[in-house]
Amino acid sequence: MAHRVAGAVLLWALACSGAHPAYGQARAAAPPSAKASAPIDLTGNWVSIVTEDWRYRMVTPAKGDYASVPLTLEGKRVADTWDPAKDEAAGEACRSYGAAGLMRIPGRLRISWQDENTLKVETDAGTQTRLFHFSGAEAPPATPPSWQGYSTAVWETIRTAPGMRPAGNAAATPAFGSLKVVTTAMRPGYLRKNGVPYSGNALLTEYWDVHKEGNGDQWLVVTSALRDPQYLQDPFLTSPNFLREPNGSKWDPTPCSANW
């Protein structure tokens, strides 16, 4: 009798879990696009809220002010050669708007899907565009260096240990997650307006997280680690914050500037 009861409970439990049939179906079907499987909604309009490093971001700091950046001696030497007039004349005014420095430039972001597997991030400051490719492939070998480089992206959600059943309903889109972005093939640029450098060998890893507050605010926090064997002793870690805006009415495209 106890055997029968336990068996019935097991059947009930399998029915309650509801995960196995859906899990099997999901494996058989084609994987959903990055857009369809997005665990968080990054699209829309965001504005920098500059509560951190105000003096380094809202104005151009003095030459030679590299406080808080773990520069190598070579990095310091290059920073000491900063000449904004020379950059401007050479058509290099966008050096501080490259991917490694762009998110800390005060401005607005406009995020949208370019296609099912490419997320587009536009900035009004410097009128730059970053493209995040979810294809899984690294930068093609012949990719020419650019200010925004080549970015690969992947959604990060809670993982389940091999052989274990995922929690909840596996068929449902997870409600939480992060966007991980890895960027290479960047042109040498500046971490700060005053010429604190990063090199063409730099590798930028970012995690994009959205936090929703009780008062309705939505914050986008971009945790970044910049690794540069040429100019940095250690990874440079920053996490600028953006507040979601209801629309793009304050979008204000401005060109790159080497000295402001």
Binding site: I49, K63, G64, L73, I158, F176, V221, T223, S239
Partner: protein, 315 residues
């Protein structure tokens, strides 16, 4: 036969009791990196420097009345370390969990103390929040929930103190929503600080730590013990009268930042505020103070880097 039944029952319970949300392991030692707000967090902000703060007029007025001589008052010596100091100060952190010895459930996550800041215990067991009139402690009362891979905690019931070490006030009505997210060997803590008394809107700060199992971070720290430091014998509270703070022009003199920006305020945090600065700001010719300011290991001045500092005064 009974064993088979027991096995089936156990298997069934295992299926239906899988946690609804997964938890990320935050446990371990996390080393600070002062790559943001180095001066504010390490040597300390200048007096009268309120850059990047959404102060309201009350908060600004009280901050301007601050005199560092309040440290001579024992009852005010431990006010500098509310739970906001996790992201305001320079400190490595240790996280550990309190678990139920019977079922292994996490009852609370703990954030170690540092310097004079009290440890923070984030209750995960769904206990109710105490009355608004309940005792306020230096560490406050915190409850947390998992939102995917992020532990979100609400911290309330902490004592009045300072939001910045130069006298920017934090009231006992302030609350903190803390988002703790681990990405591999990086831990980002975002604090959204809401203070209806002194802030015009919630203030956000986010910092990143690196995992380092080789670093020894004590779960407790020396308690803040007040001590006589030259008491005034007239019983007065050291402060400046309104309009008499002699340090309000320091940022303008040192860094050429217009005084209006130095005083903070919501409008100064938005990108469009740069337009009001463009015609008023001329960068100093060369950095003259705290120019290197960071090195692996946390020393104040980078080894082997010859910087341009002509002044290293810390006030």
């Amino acid at each position: 036969m009974k064993r088979i039944g027991l096995f089936l029952l156990t298997a069934a319970l295992a299926l239906v009791t899988t946690p609804a949300v997964a938890q990320v392991d935050l446990a371990g030692n996390w080393v600070y990196r002062l790559h943001e707000d180095w001066k504010e967090r390490s040597p300390g902000p200048d007096l009268g420097e309120f850059l990047g703060l959404p102060l309201n007029s009350e908060g600004r007025a009280r901050a301007l009345r601050y005199s560092a001589n309040v440290l001579s008052m024992p009852e005010r010596q431990c006010l500098f370390y509310p739970p906001t100091y996790v992201v305001v100060g320079p400190q490595s952190l240790r996280f550990w969990a309190d678990t139920d010895p019977i079922n292994g459930q996490v009852l609370a996550w703990n954030i170690s103390a540092a310097v004079d800041r009290s440890p923070i215990k984030i209750w995960m067991d769904g206990r109710p929040r105490p009355s608004a009139n309940a005792l306020h402690s230096s560490g406050g009362f915190a409850t947390g929930v998992w939102e995917g891979a992020t532990l979100t905690a609400l911290v309330t019931h902490f004592k009045e103190g300072y939001l910045r070490r130069n006298g920017v006030p934090s009231s006992d009505k302030a609350t903190i929503t803390m988002h703790i997210t681990r990405h591999g060997d990086m831990l980002t803590i975002t604090q959204v600080i809401d203070d209806p008394i002194y802030l015009a809107r919630p203030h956000i700060l986010s910092r990143t730590w690196q995992f380092d199992p080789g670093t020894n971070v004590s779960p407790v720290a020396d308690p803040c013990i007040p001590a006589p430091e030259g008491l005034r014998d007239d019983g007065s509270v050291p402060s400046y009268m309104i309009g008499e703070n002699p340090y309000v022009n320091e940022m303008a003199e040192r860094y050429h930042i217009p005084e209006q920006a130095v005083m903070g305020g919501v409008e100064t945090l938005y990108p469009e505020y740069r337009k009001t600065l463009k015609d008023k700001y001329v960068a100093p010719a060369m950095c003259a103070r705290y120019c290197c300011g960071w090195t692996p290991g946390g020393a104040l001045i980078a080894r082997a880097l010859k910087c341009n500092d002509v002044s290293s005064d810390v006030r």
